[in-house]
């Protein structure tokens, strides 16, 4: 159905779009969504490699999928923490602009 390079190219494409979103946008919400996009790209590559690796083992291991489940947990925790930080920033400064958050730099 799929070939491995096609999956890897799709993963690279999604990852690059995520990098563009993180670097170019100033809206914190969009930046967080781009982070999720990058994590998803890595997930696709992991599942593809794991699927190919399962061919070479007799028992059909699930290592790649278990790693992907771990990445899913990290993504969920990251979304929860990031969005609660966003809520805190919104309550304190009424902004979701990343460029207005450089007050830490003295």
């Amino acid at each position: 159905m799929f070939s491995l390079p096609a999956l890897l190219y799709l993963s690279a494409l999604l990852f690059s779009i995520g990098i563009y979103g993180v670097l170019a946008r100033r809206n914190i919400l969009v930046v967080l969504m781009s982070l999720e996009l990058m994590l998803n790209a890595v997930n696709i590559a992991l599942v593809g490699f794991g699927r190919v690796h399962a061919l070479s083992t007799t028992s059909g291991e699930h290592g790649g999928q278990i790693f992907t489940l771990m990445v899913l947990a990290v993504a969920a925790a990251e979304a929860a923490i990031g969005l609660s930080l966003l809520l805190l920033i919104w309550r304190r400064w009424k902004t979701i602009d990343l460029r207005e958050l450089c007050r830490l730099s003295g």
């Binding site: 890897l8 690279a12 059909g60």
Partner: protein, 157 residues
């Protein structure tokens, strides 16, 4: 988009993972984003003006550079060409039906990769506590609604 990724997972014999992707992303994370957008209720004047062309060009350059490096690496990697078979990834012969199904997946997760599971659960616990604490208002009387949002996300996971 997340649903499409879930479909790719299912086509790659990762059925359980595909459903988890659907639940976690479409069910939990997107709902959380929608709740946050509803709570902060951004209007046009509060939306940040996006950066100028130089900034966008810089971002596009970096992302194109990363994409070029990745595609170069993929197309020139011996490992990938060694793993590539003509006509796509062949079907699994040894374990046809159970690979990626919840039974085999769960068995391996709870026997061989138990430590990974424990680390993930501790991470999620820390995530719950941290998110609730961060999003809590200073007056705890009105802190209920954000807390229930955060908790709903993590219990879905």
């Amino acid at each position: 988009m997340f649903a499409m990724v879930a479909g790719i997972f299912m086509l790659l014999d990762a059925t359980f993972l595909g459903f988890m992707q659907l639940l976690v992303y479409a069910g939990a994370i997107m709902v959380l984003y929608l709740f946050v957008i509803m709570l902060i209720n951004p209007r046009d004047e509060t939306l940040p003006d996006e950066g100028g062309t130089s900034e966008k060009a810089f971002a596009a350059g970096v992302s194109l550079l990363v994409f070029a490096l990745l595609t170069f690496g993929i197309s020139n990697s011996d490992l990938v060409t060694e793993m590539t078979t003509p006509g796509g990834i062949p079907a699994l012969a040894e374990v046809p039906a159970t690979h990626g199904a919840i039974e085999a997946f769960g068995y391996e997760l709870f026997s061989k990769h138990l430590l990974v599971f424990e680390v993930a659960s501790i991470l999620i616990l820390v995530g719950i506590i941290g998110a609730v604490h961060i999003a809590m208002k200073q007056k705890p009387a009105s802190a209920d609604e954000e807390d229930s949002n955060e908790e709903r996300l993590v219990t879905d996971v």
